[in-house]
Symmetry: C2
Subunit: 293 residues, 2 copies
């Protein structure tokens, strides 16, 4: 998979995303290493301050739009008239043609699990039952091998500094848009915002995440109308239940050729027949488990 | 380190914490595996509904008290007169001798990063500058080896089902209280609640977490007045800055004998002199990086 196959991929050299930090190692020797940034970004929808999120600080317009969409504060047919960002204040303002009052929505705040945040869970679920995911979408097991390879070898803050999540919008075996952030809830919102702003079709896409599959991730993927959600990490029982309810294809513990599909299996083509040949050493098994935090 | 050295440790066989889930693997073969539960728990402080969090669902009294403490909604000298839990509704009510109105606090909600949640960041920071951590506390590098061994080999949902975080309150080389949850913000709150309800002294303790060291984790550890915070995962630059400001000993990437100390180095005794002998293979290096999500 050539580097150019991504439409958007991380640029770990972007100034401000990481910085050298000095410490000492276990022997007391000084070490300097690249460490990711974490800064507050406050999101406004028109006049209304909605939330402040701790973020990597890139793709802020996409982050804001995606957050509002995934919280059902912004509808798919809403018209965005402007997006302003004040870098010094860390403030993003999304302006729409029609103003809305979210005070009622803000009264009930719920904190979700995993790498999650203070989201209005009740509101997130509002449209959940109405959404019909594309039944004709398919996902080939062999694509996953290509996707994992391309994503895992692409230069990223994850590889250079660590301590970060990645979310990737994919089409068949091609990773299209790879966004990173401290919390995966931000990375997924950036993808949602990018899709909205670029009028991307969700029905033939695959959503890949490095993070665990919790209810929040399932809800957001369904809201985004993407029929397939894949993670290299594990999953919760409630996330599996929700995925089955929505008819979402849910794939977890995707490592190399291996994966476990929990829901929407009818979309999967099991074409990596030699998958069972993959040698899984005890240390690999341990690494897989370790990664499932 | 014998099993009995823990005061509290995970019991992965507790009914309801995990359940068998059926899926298929990459070859289309059916598999059944244990998967952690994730359910909504709503926290009330007296008459006031504060938040609903997606949780593993155990140690709910500790979770509620710890959440209120870490949000500065409950003060260290507040008197708790009762804690009720309705399992069917998933509601915990913490009652105090003196009622308080948190409406003002609820107006400004901030979502924090990493495995975080909708917390009132401004409020969390309220007491931050006033807290003086114990300067005389010490932390020996050799303790970390014992702690890691005891924590990593203790039976846990992490080992049996994965997809979960752990936080451990430790004293010297002894892990005392090991709590797990889907989000590490919940696991840390459970520890805070346990400490309050059991009048545990923070000044000689060490806080160990499997999760990344974000600003939220630093703030909560300082609020808990624990002078040493250790993680097997990575850290953000902002977390390092906050730890330095508070004089917190911050240790990240703790694996075997290895670690990187970023702050409060004056408390550390570098007594694992042969630490540099640890062989770190490329695959180990990769596993370490993988874990830093």
């Amino acid at each position: 998979m050539s580097k150019s196959s991504f439409l958007i991929q991380p640029n770990p050299d972007t100034p401000g995303l990481s910085q050298p930090v000095e410490g000492v190692n276990e022997t007391g020797m000084p070490v300097t290493l690249p460490v990711v940034t974490e800064k507050p970004i406050t999101l406004f929808l028109n006049q209304q301050e909605i939330v402040t999120t701790m973020s990597l600080g890139d793709w802020v317009a996409e982050l804001a739009v995606g957050y509002f969409l995934n919280q059902n504060m912004l509808k798919r047919n809403d018209e965005i008239t402007g997006i302003e960002f004040d870098d010094d204040l860390g403030v993003v303002i999304v302006r729409t043609a029609h103003e809305t009052d979210f005070e009622a929505k803000m009264k009930r705040k719920i904190r979700t699990s995993g790498c999650a945040e203070g989201t209005a869970y009740g509101d997130m679920m509002e449209r959940f039952d109405e959404i019909k995911l594309n039944k004709n979408a398919c996902f080939k097991a062999s694509w996953l091998i290509e996707l994992s390879k391309a994503i895992n070898t692409a230069p990223s803050l994850y590889l250079s500094a660590g301590a970060i999540h990645g979310c990737v919008l994919c089409q068949q075996d091609r990773p299209l848009v790879y966004m990173e952030d401290i919390g995966r809830h931000n990375a997924v919102d950036k993808i949602a915002g990018w899709m909205f702003l670029n009028k991307a079709t969700p029905h033939d896409k695959v959503f890949y995440t490095t993070g665990r599959l919790t209810t929040e991730m399932v809800i957001k993927t369904v809201q985004m109308q993407i029929p397939v959600l894949v993670s290299r990490s594990g999953f919760t029982a409630a996330a599996v239940d929700l995925a089955r309810e929505a008819g979402l294809t849910l794939i977890g513990r995707a490592k190399g050729k291996r994966f476990i599909a929990l829901s929407g299996i009818g979309r999967i083509v099991f074409d990596s027949a030699d998958a069972a040949d993959v040698i899984e050493s005890p240390s690999h098994q341990r690494a897989v488990q370790r990664d499932e935090r």
